[in-house]
Amino acid sequence: MNTQKKGMTGKDIITVGIFSAIYFVINFAFMLLSGLHPLLWILMPGLIAVFAGIPFLMMCAKVPKTGAVVLMGFITALIYFVTGQFTVVILIAFAVSCILAELCRICSHYRSFRGNALAYVFFSLGMIGSPLPIWIMRDSFLAQISQQGMPEAYVSTLAALTSPGMIVVLVGAPIVGAILGILLARGMFRKHFEKAGIL
């Protein structure tokens, strides 16, 4: 975080904090839902991206400063840390995606909708860190479930479902989801928030 004149003020920090709370609630709701089926889990980053666009872009519009996205990512990561969902993989994915998103906003001078939208695409990609360990720690994960007494047929189904090809779906889902989320957010902004004078 920088401490120059242009840096974030107390108001900016509080605004980021509040919108992070909303972002996290949406994020967590889908996280719980994704426990139902592995396929939902793989699609989860995409689903989150569809619905979390509104708080993210709202926050971007409210806080046109360096560090806002990184701060938002940091808070989310910290709360995930408390819920034990935190792996080194998520940490790296989150850090990389937040920095890319931040760079995007710096280049677009914070005010452009397109710049913020692109930043959102990068930000959404951070969530792929959650299912990614299935691919990275594949062998130990599968060994662990068969050790817990899972039938052979089932383990192979799961292995097929998490084939290397599915990584394309995993990475593609948040991109598509983020674009849908941006369109949804833009519709809402035009329909409600601009008229109400909030933006």
């Binding site: 107390g10 509080i14 992070s20 889990w41 709202m58 994960f141 039938p151 089932y154 189904t157």
Partner: protein, 231 residues
Amino acid sequence: MDEARRCLVFDPRVGLALLVFANLAAFSEQPFWMEMTWIGFLLFLMLLHHCFAMAGKSLLIFGGILCLQYWILPAAPGWAATSFSIFANYARRMMPCLMIGFLMFRRTPMPYLVAGMRKIHFPQRLIVAVSVTLRYFPAIREETGYIRDAMRLRGIRGLAKLEGIMVPLMVSATGTAEELSAAAVTRGIEDPAPKTSLVELRATPVDSTAFVVGVGLTAVLLAVKLGVFPW
């Protein structure tokens, strides 16, 4: 706060340290007996902090997950097994962290958490942001409750519900951000001078012991991983 209540406060520094240890343990595939030690230790800690119902619920949930993994899922039809095995696996790994998280949620009031984060030299900006976020969760719950009541009155259903929740929530969040920052700036949140705190953090013997146990468990984990012990 009187002396008896103060003893119930779970020291935030110990809480954060235990979270780090529990996270390390959760993702290094610890042996079964170590997992049980962690769970037992945390249950005991909950009891010492007078969270009896929470300890009971945690025990039930953990027992449920174990039953699910070892007896129910292997016998369940394919689709059910596919659906719940990853869920059970992750829920079980997350359990110690969640238990510490719940305990902190219940027994570490916000001023203590802020004081604790200051003591371990968290940057001031992060402290403000994190505490605002945590404090806003109950507010979101309250807001959505009201919004839902209003929607029920007007009979709004289906996809319109999404818009019906998001828009008022965003509007009220924007309003709260304005008001809260006006209040906080008036009270000197932007003052670079070191902040003072009304609460005084003192680790109780229970919390200090908990910290030592956490360090011990992590040391044992390291020893097991490095192959010092034959398990």
